[in-house]
């Protein structure tokens, strides 16, 4: 008993002394200066961004070389706008829509994933297909076209989509010979809403990809990829007829994941343009001056362990035709209707 008491006493004294003398858990603090913010951003990305290996392979981005190149452009005489321009340009080298710098006066981004490509979408023409009497189930707008094809417009996965929303919608479209799910210009949102919608189009549990995250500061420090499965919807209606998904370059992030899921659904066909990609789940952080930073942190692969960061090919490529546009026709929707009829 006495020995235990002494041990406890000695331990407390030793531990307290160690605590006081050595152990303050701190991160490296950077000055709130131009140089400090530059170094803080570079290091934040260096330690947390998840696609360095892939971007080096695809784009030749060497992050250390990027540091050397941009460090010379930073000096303490710069004003906020000039510093922002340099920092935004530096992270733009990664060509990742999920990598952003946000200040009160600007939003740094590289949206080349769609800006360098045809839009393949005309909102005014889509409005003509929807008409005025369309129904709305959460973020799903839907209507039955004249040829008994259901048309569903899904602009975002940011708002909650539940099994009830999808089932009620599918019930309303039950008499249709097929449906079109138009996710063009859908910039993403919550992954689980995308998966909820997709789960109503499969009768089997299907492997659609893998997911992994960083486990350390090194560019190659990743966890073991874990398989992701699309499970059939537990409740409500599962669609058994053909379904066509319309895509363009602005299908990004969670929408990219939705398209990836739908590629594994037996009755689904993807029609349109290559998707925008954005397979890295973004995290947020900040710089010493308070500017927000967003970066890709979690990697999604497809079922063959390929990156989908730069998008997914459709089953059938389609481009908007000028002639159709002149006639207020949407080439993508018309192609889908032809297929479903």
């Amino acid at each position: 008993m006495k020995r235990i008491s002494l041990f406890i006493l000695y331990f407390i004294i030793l531990h307290s002394s160690l605590f006081i003398l050595t152990s303050c858990v701190q991160e490296d603090e950077y000055d709130n200066s131009c140089r400090g913010n530059f170094e803080a951003l570079w290091k934040l990305m260096d330690e947390h961004y998840c696609f360095f290996g892939y971007k080096q392979l695809e784009l030749g981005v060497d992050w250390r070389e990027v540091h050397r190149r941009y460090a010379g452009r930073v000096n303490e005489k710069m004003n906020n706008e000039q510093l922002f321009e340099v920092l935004a340009e530096m992270i733009g080298e990664l060509k990742d829509g999920h990598v952003n710098l946000s200040a009160s006066f600007d939003y740094g981004r590289n949206w080349s994933f769609y800006q360098e490509y045809p839009a393949n979408y005309n909102d005014s023409i889509v409005s003509l297909y929807l008409g005025h009497d369309y129904s709305i189930a959460s973020s799903l707008k839907y209507v039955i076209l004249e040829d008994n094809i259901g048309y569903v417009r899904c602009e975002s996965f940011a708002d909650g989509i539940g099994d009830g929303n999808v089932s009620m919608m599918l019930n309303s479209l039950a008499a249709c010979s097929g449906i079109i799910i138009d996710v063009r210009n859908n910039g993403g949102g919550q992954l689980n809403y995308a998966h909820t919608l997709a789960s109503h189009f499969t009768n089997e549990k299907v492997l659609f990809g893998y997911i992994c995250h960083k486990t350390g500061k090194g560019h190659d420090d990743f966890s073991k990829p874990v398989a992701q499965y699309l499970e059939p919807a537990n409740s409500g209606i599962r669609w058994q007829k053909p379904v066509v998904v319309l895509t363009n370059r602005r299908c990004y992030s969670a929408c990219n994941d939705f398209v990836n899921c739908m590629k594994h659904c037996a009755n689904a066909t993807i029609i349109g343009d290559h998707t925008g990609g954005g397979s890295g789940m973004p995290f947020n952080s900040e710089l010493p001056n308070g500017w927000g930073v967003r970066y890709s942190a979690v990697v999604h692969y497809d079922a063959e362990m390929r990156h989908t960061e730069f998008g997914i090919d459709p089953d059938i490529f389609v481009e908007m035709s000028g002639a159709d546009t002149d006639m207020n026709k949407d080439t993508f929707i018309e192609k889908a209707r032809t297929m479903l009829n």
């Binding site: 008993m1 008491s5 406890i8 006493l9 331990f11 407390i12 531990h15 307290s16 160690l18 605590f19 050595t22 152990s23 303050c24 858990v25 701190q26 991160e27 490296d28 603090e29 709130n32 803080a40 934040l44 947390h48 998840c50 009160s104 992954l191 689980n192 997911i211 995250h213 960083k214 486990t215 350390g216 500061k217 420090d221 966890s223 874990v226 992701q228 789940m281 973004p282 995290f283 947020n284 952080s285 900040e286 010493p288 001056n289 308070g290 927000g292 967003r294 942190a297 979690v298």
Partner: protein, 300 residues
């Protein structure tokens, strides 16, 4: 006959000695019934003093006090959670402590404590807010030694359970981080009674450091979508020890007697230095609070 029994009793009293160690004190000495005072009139005067000592001893052994206290406090917080941001957030901390301390029959102490805190924080340029909150329940067993008159020190094990969260007010897939642990800690205390202006005051210092346990932490870049939607766990439950959780909690309390017997106003300082380095993530929460409250003593 009466005289001989009284003589034997008197000899026993003379041979009586106060126990030195806790072990000895845990077994109270057998006390024979005290004869009525009238029967010992005329004996050695010293016997009255010794009888008083026995009477006092009887009271020390029998009634066991239980001290209950409630305190609220306000102070300063400094929080770093590198899962959310690599910078310190600072601000105002609020603390509430509810405590019960029981003196056991051997003079040792058993303390149970609920400690709740919440902090309003902001980053160093003041453009992002964060909120931090946590609750800890701890049960401590102190083995107490009286090393000098009015001065006692105690040490012993402490079992604690903690759950807390830090939330940064910006959207994204990592807006918050949870912290949780179940720990066996080692605790120490010093307790000093003193009299000032005719009133008895009590000064207490308590300290606890982690020893062994289990703690939760997300992995370095692991999203909560993976953890709580997909249930892809990856080194989320970790063995905690003084090297990856070099933390320390201490407090200094002064009990000032007021009003009715057994009630005191309690003022003090609570400092908590909770730190961890799990999965290459760094966390610290340093809080300093000025506390005020009251205590009530009950006799069991």
């Amino acid at each position: 006959m009466l005289l001989s029994s009284l003589c034997a009793f008197s000899q026993e009293i003379k041979n009586f000695a106060f126990p030195d160690s806790v072990e000895e004190r845990r077994v109270p000495p057998a006390i024979k019934p005290i004869p009525p005072v009238e029967e010992i009139n005329g004996l050695n005067e010293d016997i009255y003093g010794q009888l008083e000592q026995i009477e006092h001893l009887r009271h020390v052994v029998a009634p066991l006090p239980s001290i209950h206290s409630t305190m609220i406090g306000v102070g300063h917080a400094n929080v770093l959670d590198s899962y959310l941001a690599p910078y310190n957030y600072t601000g105002t901390n609020f603390r509430f402590q509810l405590e019960s301390l029981r003196i056991t029959s051997g003079g040792n102490q058993r303390q149970s404590q609920l400690d709740v805190n919440g902090a309003l924080l902001e980053n160093r340029v003041g453009n992002t807010n964060a909120y931090s909150a946590g609750a800890r329940y701890a049960m401590t067993w102190y083995y107490v030694n009286e090393i000098k008159e009015h001065l006692r020190i105690g040490y012993g094990p402490e079992a604690s359970a903690y759950i807390g969260v830090t939330y940064v007010n910006r959207s994204g897939n990592n807006p918050a981080n949870a912290h949780s642990d179940i720990m066996l800690n080692l605790a120490g205390m010093a307790n000093y009674d003193f009299t000032l202006w005719g009133k008895k005051y009590n000064l207490t210092y308590q300290l606890a450091v982690p020893f062994l346990g289990i703690a939760y932490s997300p992995n370095y870049g692991q999203s909560y979508y993976e953890t709580f939607v997909l249930w892809n766990l990856d080194h989320n439950l970790l063995f905690a020890n003084p090297f990856n959780m070099p933390s320390l909690r201490h407090r200094l309390l002064l009990d000032i007697p007021v009003g009715r017997r057994g009630s005191t106003v309690r003022i003090g300082y609570v400092g908590q230095f909770n730190q961890s380095t799990f999965n290459n993530l760094k966390f610290h929460s340093y809080t300093h609070d000025f506390m005020i409250g009251y205590t009530k003593t009950f006799i069991r």
